[in-house]
């Protein structure tokens, strides 16, 4: 399944900057970065449960917000992209 994760972190304090870094690293462990604080994750429900747990343990609910959009498995019809940084198709050929 595909999951879209976005967040806003208050970075006025050093602690906030740390949370921002940790969130980004956690999201990158499970998916690809499509915009600065927008990530597309392709994972199975079990893995999503542990990923979600990890993300929730990082944020500070007082100051930060985390939004999750569930795109399911038929995400191709739901996502449009325009402009730079198209990202790569995780299911397409991966040749570097």
């Amino acid at each position: 399944m595909y999951v879209l994760v976005t967040y806003d972190v208050q970075t006025t304090s050093p602690d906030g900057k740390r949370r921002l870094r940790r969130l980004a690293r956690a999201c990158l462990d499970y998916g690809q970065r499509v915009q600065l604080s927008v990530f597309e994750l392709k994972l199975d429900p079990a893995l999503w449960a542990s990923c979600r747990e990890r993300l929730l343990s990082i944020i500070d609910p007082e100051h930060d917000s985390l939004r999750v959009y569930h795109l399911g498995s038929r995400w191709e019809g739901l996502v449009e992209h325009h402009g730079a940084k198209p990202g790569f198709d995780l299911e397409g050929p991966l040749i570097l």
Binding site: R25, Y30, G31, Q32, K42, L47, E91, L94, L96
Partner: protein
């Protein structure tokens, strides 16, 4: 349930793969170029001068992601796989069954039968597609008829050696008709098949087929490992140190359907062309980097083609075939199935 996951191919010389969190990071000239979560991958195939950090190898071994190292031209060098955590009881039974001559004979026969039958289906399918080109159709059908005869003889074969002999004979007939698989349009001398040659391949078609077989072998080997079988103890192929006999056995059923069909359609659709190959001093033919990449892309796309598995009657994709056949093999070894059902494609 296992799903078809992607394989990462790294062909850029001098690149380095490192573990970054739970992902693999591909660095080219020291700069990060891509970062992919390991749980989205089934395997990593490195061509030529590609480095791999020990931490990444460990993480891949842990997660069941197979890493294979190939030369730049695609000759197999080595793989990194984790400790065999497969079921030791299954492996013990596999050895016992492989040691039992009558069982080995039966499996070997099934495998070769399906190989010949699938080759025949490929020829007949091409014959149907080639309607209008009377001489090609005749040649394809003649070869298909000879393969039918081989199938008949295989049924009565009583020794492994005679099975291997009949397999070789069938392969000669099959490859003898390979030229007729090519549509007339790109009939330059470049793509003329004379005979099967490997180590080194002596013409572009052989180079193409050999490369596709290497990719298929990587997948077959991973499939054996993934279901807990020893990829080195086969039934049809004899034991030799380092030879992945079981993976080669598993591959036989899939060669024609997965690799050969792709090879000739790449030529017919002109996705590979004459200038995509170069001749080396020793007479070997090598693909250029661009051709190799085009073939990799085509192979990965081929693996996403849907089909319904003839035995399981389940919808799946071509890329899952090695795994599904390995699964059926394990079920037979465990005694859940009376006999191993090889993959039979009804073109």
């Amino acid at each position: 349930m296992k799903t078809h996951l992607n394989t990462l191919y790294v062909t850029t010389q001098g690149s380095y793969l490192a573990k970054q969190g739970l992902t693999v990071q591909v660095r080219i000239d020291g700069k990060p170029r891509a970062q992919l979560p390991l749980h989205n991958l089934e395997g990593i195939v490195c061509f030529g001068r590609v480095g791999c950090s020990p931490a990444l190898m460990g993480a891949c071994a842990d997660q069941g992601v197979a890493i294979s190292f190939l030369t730049e031209r695609g000759r197999y060098l080595a793989s990194v796989r984790g400790a065999s955590h497969g079921n030791v009881l299954v492996r013990r039974r596999q050895y016992r069954l492989a040691d039992d001559p009558s069982t080995a004979l039966d499996v070997a026969r099934r495998i070769v039968l399906s190989k010949v039958a699938n080759s025949r289906s490929v020829l007949l399918r091409a014959a149907r597609d080639a309607e209008g080109a009377a001489n090609r159709v005749a040649e394809l059908q003649a070869a298909a008829n000879r393969l039918s005869a081989s199938v008949h003889e295989l049924r009565g074969a009583t020794s492994l050696d005679s099975i291997r002999g009949l397999e070789g004979e069938a392969a000669t007939h099959y490859f003898g008709a390979f030229n007729a698989l090519l549509s007339n349009a790109p009939a330059s001398d470049t793509f003329r098949f004379t005979r099967r040659s490997r180590r080194p391949p002596l013409d572009p078609i052989n180079a193409l087929i050999s490369f596709l077989y290497t990719l298929l072998l990587h997948d077959a080997r991973s499939a054996c490992e993934a279901v807990g079988l020893d990829p080195c103890v086969g039934f049809l192929h004899a034991d030799r140190p380092g030879k992945p006999s079981l993976a080669l056995d598993l591959m036989e059923e899939l060669r024609a359907y997965v690799a050969d069909r792709l090879a000739y359609s790449l030529i017919n659709r002109r996705q590979v062309s004459a200038d995509g190959f170069k001749l080396l001093d020793n007479g070997a033919i090598e693909m250029t980097d661009a051709t190799r990449k085009a073939v990799l892309v085509a192979y990965q796309e081929r693996k996403r083609d849907p089909l319904t598995h003839p035995f399981l009657a389940e919808k799946t994709v071509v890329g899952m075939l090695p795994h599904l056949q390995a699964l059926l093999l394990v079920r037979w070894i465990r005694g859940d199935l009376d006999a191993y059902p090889p993959f039979l494609w009804k073109g």
